[in-house]
């Protein structure tokens, strides 16, 4: 009995996408109930599970079947390839899906996705127009959410994307966005001799701050703007935290 086949059959039979943690739980639960074969997987660790899932996904990609194994928002599932949509529509009907997003909504969403967390006025700075109506739509559709308050004057709300955002666009995580690094950090190459730093541009995503400190360090030398610290979302996850 191989781990990858067990994971395969679990994903094959599940009613929803499963995270490595859920898969690990199923392995542990099965080990508790039954004996020999299941017991061998009692203590399977998540990294092992993820490695086996990647192997499975690679297998299906190489096998060139009509469906593949994907990871969306951290959970794994089998999905059909887009080419086969006409037949699936004939079989199961159109997908129940919210109406497509408008151009302003997509622009705003893209900005938030790359630069989160950010305040409304920071978003407006990039877009050059008010985003009130658009933000309303994005919040209502659950693609964007308030993540806390920014540590700047007036303590405005910070916004970020939700897991639903990843699901809606079929993204594995925020790194899955194209040119993520480029768009997150200082994006504009200045002609030599021009030394500027723009507030709001250098916001490093929290994941980078936590998981890739060296990436954050890389961005630092360019940042000579003292104001930057005030924009660093240090306490974004603590709504109502007060400035001391």
């Amino acid at each position: 009995m191989e781990l990858k086949f067990i994971l395969e059959v679990l994903l094959f039979s599940a009613q929803k996408a499963l995270s490595p943690a859920e898969l690990r739980e199923a392995l542990a639960a099965a080990a508790q109930e039954e004996s020999e074969t299941t017991g061998a997987f009692r203590r399977t660790k998540e990294p092992e599970i993820i490695a086996a899932l990647e192997e499975l996904a690679a297998y299906y990609e190489a096998a060139g079947r009509s469906y593949r194994l994907v990871c969306v928002a951290g959970a794994w599932q089998f999905v059909s390839k887009p080419d086969y949509a006409p037949w699936l529509r004939a079989l199961v009907g159109h997908k129940a899906r919210a109406p497509r997003l408008s151009q302003p909504a997509l622009e705003t969403l893209a900005i938030i996705a790359y630069r989160q967390p950010m305040t409304r006025s920071e978003i407006e700075q990039v877009r050059g127009v008010s985003v009130d109506g658009v933000m309303q739509t994005l919040l209502e559709r659950g693609l964007v959410e308030a993540t806390g308050r920014a540590e700047v004057v007036g303590r405005p709300m910070n916004y970020g994307t939700t897991p639903l955002f990843l699901e809606y666009f079929g993204l594995r995580n925020l790194e899955d966005l194209p040119a993520a690094d480029e768009l997150r950090r200082l994006p504009v190459e200045r002609p030599a001799g021009l030394l500027t730093a723009e507030p709001g541009l250098a916001t490093v995503p929290p994941s980078d701050l936590q998981e890739a400190p060296e990436a954050a360090d890389q961005a630092k030398p360019i940042q000579e703007e003292p104001r930057r610290t005030t924009e660093t979302p240090a306490t974004q996850d603590e709504p109502g935290a007060t400035v001391t």
């Binding site: 949509a85 997908k95 622009e107 050059g128 127009v129 666009f169 001799g193 500027t196």
Partner: protein
């Protein structure tokens, strides 16, 4: 000032007012309009002639007002920024700001270009998101029917074909009692005779295939008698039947309890002794 590339304002001058409204909404804001103007120039953003762009921008604003359209405040702010840039550049070179290194942050040209470049990148990113949005509409997740596991998998081992046949046996037994054995078994074979036969067979062979039980049968009623005998022996745990999977053949083997004294307990079926 009519757009030459069939862009966002295409057809505007001869269209109706409502057409204009629809067309103008294509510009998400001043940056969008600026980007459109830059694209029209077919030059890199860094190399745009801001003076010319500023003129075009202001002309657009003028047109929008002429057409009595709502011109958002952001457009006006941008227009004034552009006019400032334009006026600076129109100054003689020696009067322009020369302290670039120190005052660059206040240079509205760079601020504008920076904003434009950045905005363009996000606009491209938005286009990518839109592509993914469309693709996701074509992707169907596998959604297995709940029955697949919840009914077939756990239930099959618990309720097998054997249970169904045992149920048949029950029904037949009740009718034997009611109708008398004669109407059911007209043959020379009785169930109790078959029970003895099966018991001898399993002593010799240890294990039999289900179909072997019926190989020598000469009549339908013999098949039935054999079958009922088998069910009875299974019930008494003298025989044991296994079916490893749904379609595999049933194998008959010796059961866990030989229980010789239970032979006497056979009567329910032994009572079906034929009248022949």
């Amino acid at each position: 000032m009519r757009p030459s590339d069939g862009g966002a304002l295409a057809g505007a001058p001869d269209g109706s007012m409502s057409d204009y409204k629809v067309q103008f909404e294509v510009f998400e804001g001043p940056l969008d309009l600026l980007l459109y103007l830059v694209r029209k120039e077919e030059v890199d953003i860094y190399e745009i002639n801001l003076t010319r762009i500023a003129t075009q921008f202001v002309e657009y604003i003028a047109l929008m007002r002429e057409l009595d359209l709502d011109v958002a405040g952001e457009f006006l702010v941008m227009a004034s920024t552009l006019m400032l840039i334009k006026s600076r550049e129109l100054l003689p070179v020696d009067q322009q700001a020369q302290t670039e290194d120190e005052e660059d942050e206040d240079d509205p040209r760079w601020e504008l270009i920076r904003q434009l470049v950045e905005y363009k990148k996000f606009k491209d990113a938005a286009a990518h998101l839109q592509g993914r949005e469309l693709e996701q509409e074509q992707v169907f997740p596998r959604l297995p029917g709940r029955l697949e596991f919840e009914s077939t998998e756990p239930l099959r081992p618990e309720v097998s074909l054997f249970d169904l046949l045992a149920a048949v046996n029950q029904v037949l037994q009740r009718h034997q009692e009611k109708l008398g054995p004669r109407e059911i078994f007209e043959d020379r074979w009785t169930v109790s005779e078959k029970i003895e036969q099966l018991r001898r067979l399993i002593e010799e062979r240890q294990q039999l295939r289900f179909s072997e039980l019926f190989e020598g049968a000469t009549s339908r009623s013999e098949v039935v008698a054999t079958f009922l005998a088998m069910l009875e022996l299974i019930r008494l745990r003298i025989l044991c039947a296994r079916q490893s999977s749904a379609f595999s053949e049933i194998t008959i083997s010796r059961g866990e309890s030989p229980a010789p004294e239970r032979t006497a307990a056979i009567p329910p079926v032994a009572g079906a002794k034929s009248a022949s």
